[in-house]
C-alpha cells in the first residue's frame, strides 16, 4: 500500500478532494477510481477507494473498494505475483464477506493466468450470458491467451467449441512454423474465424512463416494486422527486429525477446564490430590487443554465426601468423586450433606467396600448396588427376621459377634436414586430417623440383600448353632431359608437331640425320602444310646431301639431290642456286666436268652475278669437305663485296648452313660499309652481321649494325640487337638501351622470333651482370628514335674504355692501371663485394679459360679487343 498516498491522505490541513456529504460517494470520486484503474494505477485506486469506504462505510463504497481490489489483484496476476494475489484474496474474503461472488471470478482469472482456463471460460457455456460478459471474457482471452494447449484442453468447454478448436489448430501451426518450413495449406487455419479472440495468433503464425521464408515484406504486413492489445502482439518486437533490424535495436527488447533474436535470427552487427576491431589490431600488430580481440571475435562468432566459426579461425590463424604471433598463443585465444583442411592450406600457401623475395617462403608456399592438394582431393574439391590438379602444379612451378638454382638447392637442403611435414600444424587435428600428414623423413619433396612438378602437371592434364611449359623449362634448366620430355609429349599427344620438331632438331644436332628425317616424315604425315615441317624437309635434305658428299657417297647424294630438286620449296628465291651448287660438287665428285660446268652456269644464271656464285661455291665446297674447284677465270665482281657475300650468308642461313667469314674480307667489308650513302638490302646485311657475331668479329658487326640502322625503319629491331651484341662489356648502358629498343620494336612488329632470341641472349649473357632497369622497361617512340639516332651517329667502334682520372690526375683505365702495376678500382670493389674466389671464377668463365661453363652458352671471345682487365 502506498505510504506516500497515506501520508497525503492523513494530512487534515489539506482540503478535501471533492466537497461531499460524509455518507455519500460523489460521482467524481467514483469516476476518479475508475480512471485510476483504467490507467493501470491499481495501488492509488485502491488507496483512494479505501478512503472513500472509510468515510462512507456503506454498500456502495464497499462495492467501489472491491472494484479497486479486483484491479489490484489483476495487476498482481499480470506481473506474475500469484502468491501476493492469493494472499490478497484471503484478506478480502475475511474482511468483506460480500466479496464471495467476485472472489470466484478473481480465482478464475488467477487460475487462467496459471494456465487453467476452465473456471474462467465456463460461463461461455451459458447461452444467456450477457453480451458484455462474453465480450469481457473474449477480451481477456485475446489479451492473455498465450497458453494455447491449455485453451485447447479447457474441459469446461465442449471439445467442438470454436475456442478450443481454434486454440488446438493454432498450437499445431505455431509449433510447426517455429520448428521448420511449412506448406501454405498449413497456414490457412479455417478453424480460426476473424472474430475469434485468438485471431491475432493466426496473423502471427503467418508472420513467422513469412519470416522464415525471408519474405520480410509479408512478415511486416502480417504483423501489422496483429491486434496491438493481444497476447500475440507481444512477440511482434522480436519478430520485427529479426525481419528488419531498423525497427528495434536489441537493447530495446526484453531479455526473453533478445534471447529469441539471438537464437532464431541473430545479428551480424556485433560480430562485424568485433571483426573490425580485430582487423585494426592486426594492422597495428599490437600482440596483446590482437589476442584479446581474437578471443572476443571467436566468442561473438560462436553466438552469432556458428557456421562461420571454422572459417574465421582459419583466417585468424593465417593473419596472426603473418603478424608474427605465436601459433600456440593464437590457438589458446581461439579456444582451440583452426581446422587444417584444404581451405586453411590454400590460405597458408597464399600467405607464404605474399612474403616475396624470401627463398624459404617460396619453399614453404610450395609445401603448403602440396598439403592443399592432398586435402582438396580428399575433400572432393577436384580429382587427383585433371585440369585443377595441373593448375596447382603449374602454380608451384611458377613459384619455383622465382628461385635461382643456388637458392633452390639451399631450400631443398633445408627441407631435407628440417622439414617435419608440418607436424606443428597437424597438432590437435581430427583423425581424418591427421591421416594426410607426412611424417618426418617421409615427405616427398617433389614440390621443390620444377621438373617433377611439371611432369606431374602433364600427367594430371596432358595438354599441349602443359607440355610446352615442361619442355621450355627443360630447355632452360636441364637440356639433357629435353628429349625425354619431348618423347613423353609425343607419347601423350601423338598428333602434336612441336615435340617432333624438337626431337628432329635434337637428332640433327647429334648428326643423326636419318632419325631426324624419319621424325620429319612423321611430322609431315600429321601436318604436311606446316611451314616449319616444310622448311625442315629441305634443310634435312641439304644436311644429308652435304654429309653424303663429304663422305663421297655419290649415289646417296644423287638421290638426295633428286628429292631436293623435286621440292616446290627448293624453287623459291636463291634456293635453286644453292641446289645447283650442291649438284656442282656432286658432279665434281663423279668427275662429270661437263655436268659440273652446266650446274655452275645454272647457279650463275640464278644469282645473276658471277662473284656471288663464286662465294657460294666456295662455301658449299667447304661444307662438303672439298677443295675449291676453279672453273675458268674468276668472275669479275659487278656488285660490292658486302652485297655478294651478304646474299650468300642469307642463303646459307636459309638452308641451315651457317657461312663463315673469310678473314681477308673484313677490311674490305669494313671499308665498303663505312662509306656514306650506301643503300644496303637489310636481309643480306643482317645475315652478314650474324656471321660476324658468330665469329666474334665485333667491329665488323658494329659497322654492319650502323649501316643497317641508317637505312630506315626496316630491320631496325634486328640491327639494334646486332649493335647491342657487338658492343664491348663496358658499354653497359648503351647495350641495355639498344636491347630495350630492339625488344620494344620487335614487340610492336610482332616479331616473336626476334623477341625469343633477345630473351635467350639476355638470359645467357646478362644473367651475371647487373643489368640496368632500362633493359626491361618499355620505351616510347621518341626514346627509340633517339637511341637509333645516337647509334647511327656513333660510327666508330668503342675500342677502348674511356679512362677516369683520379684526383691526382692518373688515369684509371685498366691499361694505365696495369702499366702502374695497380688493380683497377672497379675490380677491387667487386672483390670486396663477392670475394676473390667468385671473381676469379667469373673472370675465368668470361675469358673461357676454365671454371664452370654453362652449356649452350656462347660468350664472345674478348682477346682481340681491348679487354678492361
Amino acid at each position: 500500500m502506498s505510504q506516500k498516498y497515506k501520508s497525503g491522505r492523513s494530512d487534515s490541513s489539506q482540503p478535501a478532494l471533492f466537497e461531499v456529504q460524509p455518507a455519500d460517494i460523489h460521482p467524481k470520486e467514483r469516476e476518479r477510481v475508475s480512471q485510476l484503474i483504467a490507467l493501470n494505477k491499481s495501488g492509488p485506486a485502491l488507496d483512494f477507494a479505501k478512503d472513500i469506504h472509510k468515510r462512507c462505510h456503506n454498500a456502495a463504497s464497499e462495492g467501489l473498494l472491491l472494484d479497486a481490489y479486483g484491479a489490484r489483484l489483476a495487476s498482481l496476476v499480470e506481473r506474475g505475483l500469484d502468491r501476493e494475489a492469493t494472499a490478497l484474496m484471503v484478506l478480502v474474503r475475511e474482511r468483506y464477506p460480500s466479496s464471495s461472488e467476485r472472489l470466484g471470478e478473481w480465482n478464475a482469472v488467477v487460475a487462467a493466468r496459471q494456465g487453467n482456463w476452465g473456471a474462467f471460460l465456463e460461463p461461455l457455456n451459458d447461452p444467456s450470458l450477457p453480451a458484455e460478459k462474453r465480450a469481457a471474457i473474449a477480451a481477456k482471452v485475446r489479451r492473455d491467451g498465450f497458453d494455447l494447449p491449455a485453451l485447447a484442453e479447457c474441459r469446461t468447454l465442449p471439445p467442438e467449441h470454436p475456442l478450443r478448436t481454434a486454440a488446438a489448430a493454432l498450437h499445431k501451426a505455431f509449433t510447426d512454423v517455429t520448428s521448420g518450413p511449412v506448406a501454405d495449406e498449413a497456414l490457412a487455419l479455417p478453424e480460426v474465424s476473424r472474430s475469434s479472440p485468438l485471431a491475432p495468433w493466426k496473423m502471427l503464425v503467418r508472420a513467422i512463416a513469412a519470416y522464415y521464408r525471408r519474405d520480410d515484406a509479408l512478415c511486416e504486413k502480417c504483423l501489422a494486422a496483429v491486434a496491438a492489445d493481444s497476447a500475440a502482439a507481444r512477440l511482434a518486437p522480436a519478430l520485427h527486429t529479426m525481419a528488419s533490424a531498423k525497427l528495434h535495436q536489441p537493447q530495446d527488447l526484453s531479455p526473453a525477446a533478445a534471447a529469441l533474436v539471438n537464437e532464431a535470427g541473430g545479428s551480424l552487427e556485433a560480430l562485424r564490430a568485433a571483426l573490425k576491431r580485430l582487423d585494426s589490431a592486426l594492422d597495428r600488430r599490437n600482440q596483446q590487443s590482437i589476442l584479446q580481440d581474437v578471443a572476443n571475435a571467436v566468442t561473438v562468432c560462436r553466438q552469432a554465426e556458428p557456421g562461420l566459426l571454422d572459417r574465421l579461425r582459419q583466417h585468424i590463424s593465417v593473419r596472426a601468423m603473418m603478424a608474427g604471433l605465436k601459433p600456440d598463443k593464437v590457438a589458446a585465444a581461439m579456444h582451440g586450433p583452426s581446422l587444417k583442411n584444404a581451405y586453411f592450406w590454400r590460405l597458408l600457401a597464399r600467405s607464404f606467396e605474399e612474403d616475396k623475395g624470401k627463398p624459404m617462403a617460396i619453399g614453404q608456399a610450395c609445401s603448403a600448396w602440396e598439403e592443399f592438394r592432398k586435402h582438396a582431393v580428399r575433400e572432393g574439391w577436384f580429382p587427383a588427376k585433371g585440369p585443377e590438379a595441373a593448375t596447382l602444379y603449374l602454380r608451384i612451378a611458377d613459384q619455383l621459377r622465382h628461385l635461382g638454382p643456388d637458392d633452390l638447392e639451399d631450400v631443398r637442403h633445408s627441407f631435407e634436414y628440417h622439414f617435419d611435414g608440418h607436424a606443428g600444424y597437424y597438432k590437435g587435428q581430427p583423425p581424418e586430417i591427421r591421416a594426410l600428414m607426412s611424417g618426418r623423413g617421409k615427405v616427398d619433396l617433389y614440390f621443390l623440383s620444377p621438373h617433377s612438378v611439371l611432369e606431374r602437371a602433364c600427367e594430371a592434364d596432358p595438354c599441349t600448353e602443359n607440355f610446352q611449359q615442361w619442355l621450355h623449362h627443360a630447355e632452360e634448366a636441364s637440356p639433357a632431359t629435353c628429349d625425354q620430355v619431348a618423347e613423353r609429349w609425343c607419347a601423350a599427344l601423338p598428333r602434336d608437331i612441336p615435340p617432333l620438331l624438337h626431337l628432329m632438331r635434337s637428332a640433327e644436332e647429334r648428326n643423326a640425320l636419318q632419325k631426324a628425317f624419319k621424325l620429319m616424315e612423321r611430322a609431315e604425315h600429321i601436318d604436311g602444310l606446316n611451314t616449319e615441317v616444310r622448311r625442315a624437309r629441305l634443310r634435312l635434305l641439304v644436311s644429308m646431301s652435304v654429309r653424303h658428299l663429304r663422305e663421297k657417297k655419290a649415289n646417296l647424294a644423287g638421290k638426295d639431290l633428286r628429292q631436293m630438286e623435286a621440292l616446290p620449296q627448293a624453287q623459291q628465291g636463291d634456293r635453286p642456286a644453292f641446289v645447283a651448287a650442291l649438284r656442282f660438287v656432286w658432279c665434281i665428285l663423279r668427275d662429270a666436268k661437263q655436268e659440273a660446268a652446266s650446274a655452275h652456269a645454272e647457279a650463275v644464271r640464278f644469282l645473276g652475278d658471277g662473284a656471288t656464285a663464286q662465294f657460294l661455291f666456295l662455301q658449299v665446297e667447304r661444307w662438303c669437305g672439298r677443295p675449291h674447284s676453279e672453273l675458268g677465270n674468276p668472275a669479275r665482281p659487278t656488285t660490292p663485296l658486302w652485297v655478294a657475300f651478304g646474299r650468300v650468308c642469307a642463303l646459307g642461313e636459309d638452308m641451315g648452313m651457317p657461312v663463315d667469314l673469310i678473314h681477308e674480307m673484313q677490311a674490305q667489308l669494313m671499308k665498303e660499309l663505312s662509306a656514306p650513302n650506301i643503300s644496303p638490302n637489310p636481309r643480306p646485311l643482317a645475315a652478314l652481321g650474324e656471321a660476324a657475331i658468330r665469329q666474334d668479329h665485333f667491329p665488323l658487326a658494329y659497322t654492319i649494325a650502323g649501316a643497317g640502322l641508317a637505312q630506315g625503319a626496316e630491320g631496325q629491331a634486328r640491327f639494334l640487337f646486332l649493335r647491342a651484341r657487338s658492343l664491348p662489356p663496358w658499354e653497359e648502358e648503351r647495350r641495355s638501351s639498344c636491347l630495350a629498343a630492339a625488344s620494344d620494336l620487335a614487340r610492336r612488329q610482332h616479331d616473336s622470333d626476334l623477341l625469343k632470341r633477345i630473351g635467350e641472349w639476355r638470359d645467357e649473357e646478362l644473367d651475371w651482370l647487373d643489368v640496368p632497369e632500362q633493359a626491361t622497361a618499355a620505351l616510347g617512340a621518341a626514346e627509340i628514335g633517339n637511341i637509333v639516332q645516337r647509334e647511327i651517329e656513333a660510327r666508330a667502334f668503342p675500342s677502348s674504355r674511356p679512362g677516369v682520372p683520379r684526383g691526382d690526375g692518373e688515369c684509371q683505365c685498366p691499361a694505365c692501371c696495369a702499366e702502374r702495376g695497380e688493380i683497377p678500382r672497379e675490380l677491387m670493389e667487386t672483390v670486396d663485394q663477392f670475394g676473390p674466389e667468385a671473381v676469379v671464377q667469373a673472370l675465368a668463365e668470361m675469358l673461357g679459360i676454365g671454371g664452370k661453363k654453362k652449356r649452350g652458352r656462347h660468350r664472345p671471345r674478348l682477346d682481340d679487343i681491348d679487354f678492361p682487365f
Binding site: E78, P255, R272, K276, R311, S351, T391
Partner: protein, 99 residues
C-alpha cells in the same frame, strides 16, 4: 554490388557448371542492363568472362584466396541465418511479466 569475387557477382555456388554460369549471367544482365546500370553491367560481364573460360575459372576458384583480406569481409554477402528454434523461446516472451 560490392563484391569482386565473380561467383558472388553472379550469385552462383562454387560448383556451378557452364549452364548455371550462363543462366546466372543472363539473369544479372536483365537485372543490370548496360544502358541503365553500366558499372554494374561491367562487373557482371567481367565476372562472366572470368568464369566462362574453364582454365581461368579453375585458376580463379583454386588460387584466388586472399590471406590479407579483412576478417570483417568474411561477412560480406552473408545473410543472417534464420534458425528454427521450436515454440519455447517464443513462448518465453509471453511468460515474462508485462512491462
Amino acid at each position: 554490388m560490392t563484391h569482386d569475387d565473380p561467383r558472388q557477382v553472379l550469385g552462383i555456388p562454387l560448383e556451378a557448371g557452364d549452364d548455371e554460369i550462363r543462366a546466372a549471367y543472363l539473369r544479372k544482365v536483365r537485372e543490370y542492363p548496360p544502358d541503365r546500370a553500366p558499372q554494374e553491367f561491367e562487373k557482371v560481364r567481367d565476372a562472366y568472362e572470368t568464369l566462362r573460360d574453364p582454365v581461368r575459372r579453375t585458376r580463379h576458384s583454386l588460387l584466388s584466396a586472399d590471406p590479407k583480406q579483412p576478417l570483417s569481409s568474411l561477412l560480406e554477402g552473408r545473410v543472417c541465418e534464420r534458425r528454427f528454434t521450436g515454440p519455447e523461446p517464443w513462448l518465453a516472451i509471453l511468460r515474462e511479466p508485462r512491462p
